[in-house]
Symmetry: C2
Subunit: 105 residues, 2 copies
């Protein structure tokens, strides 16, 4: 949902590896698990986290479930990062001008 969930989801190395493996396109759970050094249930749990973070979505096709990257999740994360630019640059300018005023720090 929010950017917090996206960051939390991508903070785990294995989850990041799974997410990055989807760069190549949609994959089934078994296909993803084949390239990972952990069990299939572990992959399934990671995918659940990625999905509820809005980073992937699923397309059922028979018993197979294809996961793929969802760009919207990455967009919210990018907005969060971008939001620091203007804020901090303004703040830094203020800090320089108020440098001599000796406020409570």
């Amino acid at each position: 949902m929010a950017y917090q969930d996206a960051i939390t989801a991508l903070s785990d190395p294995r989850r990041r590896a799974i997410f990055e493996s989807l760069r190549a396109g949609p994959k089934s759970v078994a296909h993803i698990a084949r390239d990972q050094p952990v069990s299939r249930p572990a992959v399934s749990q990671h995918l659940k986290v990625l999905q509820s973070a809005g980073l992937v979505d699923v397309t059922a096709q028979g018993t197979k479930r294809f996961y793929q990257i969802r760009h919207q999740g990455l967009t919210t994360l990018r907005h969060y990062i971008d939001s620091f630019w203007q804020d901090t640059l303004d703040a830094f300018a203020n800090h320089v001008t108020e440098n001599q005023t000796k406020k409570e720090n």
Copy 2:
């Protein structure tokens, strides 16, 4: 250093709160800790992580140490996120065309 460290550093809610509190400009450790519901050593440890992730840098001024946001750390993180766009869009196009070819999935 790398984007991995930045993501890991920002995955912790408290560390994110500390980092976001620096939007307003450089602050001393005591000043940061004043707004956080944890002890000063805890804040110190978080700042250490943020620093080694390249997200903040320090300016000593007497016994006080002013921490501020370092934009370069955010830049590497943004590049990582951006790197998914072209890759996944290409991959999706391929997947659509190869849809009937029934590859091993």
